[in-house]
Symmetry: C2
Subunit: 156 residues, 2 copies
């Protein structure tokens, strides 16, 4: 009984995760960008990382990030900025167009997930929020640090 209930929770959470990230992918698709490009723009919203840091944030090989950034740059969404202190280093930053685009996708996505949660009365939504926070905080702690990163879409 307990095991059964536990499994149901796992299954439901997995399904819900597919639905939620499917919504993000769909909204990104509307702006003709892929999930990984969306994640790239997402992490750049509050950072100007080096290529190496970007690779760590996105959990990709640096060579993969090279291609990713080339394609985003070609579309005018990001820019490479050479470091002045270390001439090997390049920092990546959002262009205005990139910032506008990612804000748009984020806003539409948040609105859509909001609608999804609208079926729950405010009190239950608050309960859900609290439960999710508990899980996330524990997860973050056990993973090491990174406790209060706002919307770190680099999550894995």
């Amino acid at each position: 009984m307990a095991a059964r209930g536990q499994l149901d929770t796992v299954d439901g959470l997995a399904q819900l995760s597919f639905v939620v990230l499917g919504m993000l992918e769909a909204q990104a698709g509307r702006q003709d960008i892929s999930m990984v490009q969306t994640r790239l723009l997402g992490v750049l919203r509050d950072r100007t990382p080096t290529m190496n840091e970007l690779a760590a944030l996105l959990d990709l090989d640096k060579s993969s990030v090279s291609g990713l950034v080339v394609r985003a740059e070609r579309r005018g969404l990001v820019e490479r900025v050479p470091s002045t202190t270390d001439r090997r280093v390049v920092r990546v930053t959002l262009t205005d167009a990139g910032r506008t685009l990612v804000s748009h996708v984020a806003a539409r996505f948040e609105a859509e997930v909001s609608r999804l949660l609208d079926v729950l009365p405010a009190a239950e939504r608050a309960t859900l929020s609290g439960l999710i926070s508990q899980v996330l905080v524990t997860q973050a702690t056990s993973r090491g640090i990174e406790l209060f990163p706002d919307t770190d879409h680099a999550a894995r």
Copy 2:
């Protein structure tokens, strides 16, 4: 305040979704298979669909499914079975190796998500389960209603 709380819920749910599907991807990666291959094997666990049905289930073009199945077949995970009633039709089925592999990935994934939820007392896990179910049921219903005219997954 209400809007803020709602946004927090949305954000938390998005983060949690990344964590959960990241766990699935990591477990699949351990068995050297991609997310889409995992989804393929997953839908085949209780179905033997035609290529066309598979395309609808995975929300992919039929040509994409052709390649997907070719690569899975090459690895001995699925098999093409020609239909006896309509010689144009091919059905796809799991091999024993494919079934073993997908069971393994699913079991590891479920265990990992279970551990993630272990921080919640049983009563709160049950509450979470109920809330998720409510959201999923509503989502399914609204999707079902929308899909009456045609079964085309046009979103993307």
